[in-house]
């Protein structure tokens, strides 16, 4: 409350708890599928339903995914890790406790570097721990406050979660957004995350406002100052954009309160995406006591040797740098081509087989450009990258022109779903064979003696006229450069 009197320059302090669903085939403590299900409560078993007598068994795939994240964020991974019970009652929690980690999380003391505009920033990551996702609640006939009744779906219960807790290092909402984008990029590269899955990223943010004078030269803020400032916890954020909007709103709300001499309440607030505001959850803010204690059903897990065997792929920043050096790409192209691991892998496949520049043009400009125009992602044509590769092959072999390849074939592939060979055949786009071009060249010379005369007289425009004639005869499928060359040879 101390900040109420201060009306000088104000600084915003934000820390995040990011819940990330780890991409594994099965749930963290049972063999149920994590795939999206059409019917509620179908991907369930006694374990994830928390039925009496059922016991958890750890999915090592979830641990492996967490170790990969730990390596990617330079975290300390302990020799052994273990699980605790977090005890609280909530209708989406099958056992009324959540199996989580407490004093020996799988990752500690990491960091993540990212760019905000031209500035490079590094945010400390205190810890990242494994836990089970609760079920999901469907409020019928209203919101959480006004619904007539609520249904529980346990399909999500037991999905592996990694809760990533940052230091309070963010100074504005734009930084949070940039951080989340970078985090997703890294997770996606590691192959442990599916951004397209509903609820795969959920953010709780702690935000407080302090006097600018309390912020040290290195951007740090004294722990006592943070403790003294009332903070709000903003929940229900599920995207980068949402995070930026929610926290920009909340920062302004707190600043306004302070500037008007009102105290900021320490409370939990709910981000209402549709209204674009945060609202007090009105629950009495009592000190939470989760009564953490060791989960005896899961023996401690030795990761000392195992973690050495877990490799991670080249991460986005490193790959970007290598692309620039190895393929001579400019910053913009390198950024585009490393935006997701799938794109970068596809680019390298094409570069290896054809030509680095051709591949760059085709992936960064043509493919991403046409997709972007249609509001599509590469993931939307997951199974059809082979067709794109075939198209590039046709171009590289000079069987079709670059212009036709992009403007006719690629667009038709995306719009009508046809494959490249079909489009080429049906549209008659195949480059005319040498014989046909040669015949057209000879015919053009024979039919246009005037132009031939002009050519010999040294008139440069005459050759262009003859090229046009040949192009017309071949339906535009000949290469103008080749035609020019053939004409000059025939006229000598």
């Amino acid at each position: 409350m101390a900040q109420a009197q201060e009306t000088g320059e104000l600084a915003v302090i934000i820390g995040l708890e990011v819940h990330v669903q780890l991409e594994t085939d099965t749930k963290i403590f049972c063999g149920c599928s994590t795939a999206a299900a059409d019917e509620p409560n179908t991907n369930t078993c006694p374990v994830c339903l928390g039925l009496p007598g059922a016991l958890p068994v750890l999915n090592e795939g979830a641990v492996e995914a967490a170790v990969k994240v730990g390596k990617a964020i330079d975290a300390t991974i302990p020799e052994r890790t273990r699980f605790h019970r977090k005890n609280y009652y909530y209708p989406d929690l099958p056992k009324n406790f959540q199996i989580s980690q407490y004093d020996a999380p799988i990752c500690q003391d990491g960091r993540l570097e990212f760019s905000v505009g031209d500035e490079r920033r590094t945010v400390g990551i205190r810890r990242a721990h494994l836990e089970e996702d609760p079920g999901s609640l469907k409020h019928k006939g209203g919101s959480i406050d006004t619904a007539e009744y609520t249904l529980v779906d346990y399909n999500r219960a037991g999905t592996p979660l990694l809760e990533i807790v940052t230091d309070p290092d963010f100074r504005d909402a734009a930084e949070v957004r940039a951080f989340l984008a970078k985090l997703e990029e890294v997770l996606e590269y590691l192959g442990v995350f599916d951004a397209g899955r509903d609820g795969s990223l959920r953010v709780d943010a702690n935000l407080s406002v302090v006097a600018e004078s309390e912020v040290g030269a290195d951007g740090s803020v004294d722990a006592d100052v943070l403790e003294a400032a009332n903070r709000t916890e903003v929940k229900n954020i599920s995207s980068h954009k949402g995070a930026e909007k929610a926290l920009a709103y909340e920062a302004q709300r707190q600043k306004n309160a302070i500037e008007r001499g009102r105290a900021v309440q320490q409370e939990t607030r709910h981000w209402d995406e549709s209204r674009g505001i945060t609202v007090s959850m009105r629950s009495k803010e009592e000190e939470k006591d989760y009564r953490y204690y060791r989960e005896a059903d899961l023996p401690p897990l030795e990761v000392a040797d195992w973690k050495e065997e877990i490799d991670i792929p080249e991460l986005p920043d490193a790959r970007r740098e290598r692309f620039r050096e190895e393929y001579g790409l400019d910053v913009e192209a390198a950024d585009k081509l490393t935006a997701t691991k799938q794109v970068a892998d596809f680019y390298e496949e094409l570069a290896a087989e054809f030509d680095a520049d051709l591949a760059a043009t085709w992936v960064a400009d043509n493919l991403l450009g046409e997709l972007n125009y249609r509001d599509m992602q590469v993931t939307d044509i997951d199974g059809r990258l082979d067709e794109v590769k075939r198209l590039v092959e046709l171009v590289a072999a000079e069987e079709i022109t670059a212009k036709n390849a992009r403007e006719t074939v690629l667009r038709s592939m995306l719009d009508d779903g046809r494959d490249p060979d079909t489009v080429v055949a049906e549209e008659g786009l195949g480059k005319t064979t040498g014989d046909e071009v040669q015949q057209a060249v000879e015919a053009a010379i024979e039919e246009n003696p005037g132009a031939v005369e002009d050519y010999h007289a040294g008139e440069d425009g005459a050759i262009n006229f003859l090229v046009g004639q040949v192009m017309q005869k071949t339906g535009g499928s000949a290469d103008p450069g080749d035609v020019n060359q053939l004409l000059r040879e025939a006229l000598e």
């Binding site: 006694p46 039925l51 007598g53 406790f97 009564r291 204690y293 060791r294 005896a296 059903d297 023996p299």
Partner: protein, 442 residues
């Protein structure tokens, strides 16, 4: 006579062939049976029908056993007399008018009465051994991790094991062979021979596996205790009933006559074992029983007010007073500000108890004590005085704290014909040692 030993009498037939074919094995009502209600002796679960079998039930069925029904028990295993059951108390077939012990009182009673050939109980702080002692039958509490707990409805999951109850040591050992062994659905199970390692077999224990690689407990039940060294922890005799102590020494005399020798040992940590046990067990219970909120099964809390109120109503209605007492105690012991004072201290005491047992078992093959410091209590005697009931667990709870195997075998009767049980405690996965010792008294 009806001892009220079953909550549900419904036959579950096992495979046609198998080593238990033709025999009946009653199952305690906290062990899940697919399609047959499993109540834990609680009104909360009076209508709960599990959709799956516990691992031990699967193994019984594979071995050809017939399960004649689900046996009565103290509510959620919380009691020493089988009087806290929502389905009424169980009579002691071996001592009319007295309690059968608990919490597996129904399982011990059906075996003592001859209504079932054998039974399964569960032992969190003595719940197999106590009723075995009070009903004059044999009960084994296995090493933690020997028997799968998958499907056992948890009271205190770091302490409990499912164990056999039978008329003889040999039959109890046979039933243990059927249910023991690692289970991929219980991450705390271990393979006994792996846990023991090479060269652990002694003249007393012999090899835990037979030629086929299966567990062999039965061959240890040969009554041969020649050369066995028995440690007697004096703390477990102090304060015991005179008639019980008399029978205890008579049994030790018999063992000496058979070639065993004994020495007294002191385990100072045992003074704190009951307190540590009740702090740990109630703490775990407060968490394990949290899921009983009336949402998906059990007593419903109705739809008035918010969910918190509905949960509270379901738990108010569904749980009996002893369960409420222990959930409250455990919630308190784990709370911020008290956890260091109670739960953490209890864990320290547990480590100390383990260490004391390890030391004592370094100089002895088994440790011996009365199973219960008292003979069977009169019905109703302890209900108004929970502390008296808790203190009766002084000799059994330390074994659960130390994760060790123990057996209770009949060792005579008091002057007024009440059964007395003798307990042998062995080293981790030393089931064969306690079976051998127990079989000498059978």
């Amino acid at each position: 006579m009806d001892y009220n030993a079953y909550v549900t009498e419904e036959r579950i037939e096992g495979a046609e062939e198998g080593r238990l074919a033709g025999r009946t094995v009653a199952v305690k009502d906290n062990i899940s049976t697919a399609g047959v209600r499993t109540t834990c002796g609680s009104a909360m679960l009076a209508d709960y029908v599990p959709p799956y079998d516990a691992t031990v039930v699967e193994r019984l069925k594979e071995a050809g056993a017939t399960i004649p029904g689900k046996t009565n028990m103290d509510e959620f295993g919380m009691g020493t007399t089988t009087e806290t059951s929502a389905f009424g108390p169980v009579e002691n077939p071996a001592a009319e008018g007295y309690v059968p012990g608990g919490s597996s009182g129904g399982s011990a009673a059906v075996v003592a009465a001859g209504d079932a050939d054998m039974a399964l109980g569960s032992d969190t702080g003595g719940s197999v051994r106590c009723p075995a002692a009070f009903c004059g039958v044999v009960g084994i509490k296995p090493t933690y991790g020997l028997v799968s707990r998958y499907g056992l409805i948890a009271y205190a999951n770091s302490l409990e094991q499912i164990g056999p109850i039978a008329p003889t040591v040999e039959e109890a050992a046979e039933l243990l062979e059927v249910i023991a062994g690692p289970d991929e659905r219980d991450a705390t199970t271990r393979d006994a021979s792996e846990a023991l390692g090479d060269g652990e077999a002694t003249a007393i224990t012999g090899d835990v596996t037979d030629e086929d690689g299966g567990y062999d407990f039965v061959s240890a039940a040969d009554g041969d205790v020649d050369g066995m060294e028995i440690g007697v922890p004096t703390e477990l005799l102090d304060g015991a009933d005179d008639a019980v102590v008399e029978q205890f020494w008579a049994a030790i005399d018999d063992l000496e006559a058979a070639g065993a020798s004994y020495h007294e040992v002191t385990l100072p940590s045992l003074e704190h074992a009951v307190e540590a046990y009740y702090v740990i067990a109630t703490s775990e219970a407060s968490s394990n029983l949290a899921r009983f909120d009336g949402v998906r099964y059990g007593v419903s809390g109705g739809y008035d007010g918010d969910w918190n109120e509905a949960f509270a109503r379901a738990r108010e209605e569904g749980f009996g007073p002893e369960v409420k007492r222990r959930v409250l105690l455990g919630t308190f012991a784990l709370s911020a500000g008290y956890q260091d004072k109670y739960y953490k201290k209890a864990q320290d005491a547990r480590a100390w108890v383990k260490q004391d047992f390890d030391e004592a078992l370094g100089a002895a093959d088994v440790l011996a004590s009365p199973t219960m410091p008292v003979p069977p209590l009169e019905r109703g005697e302890s209900l108004d005085d929970p502390l008296q009931m808790y203190l009766a667990d002084a000799n059994t709870t330390p074994v659960n704290l130390a994760n060790l195997p123990a057996i209770s075998v009949p060792a005579g009767e008091t002057g007024d014909d009440r059964p007395v049980g003798l307990q042998f405690v062995g080293p981790a996965f030393g089931e064969r040692a306690v079976i051998r010792a127990g079989s000498a008294l059978g």
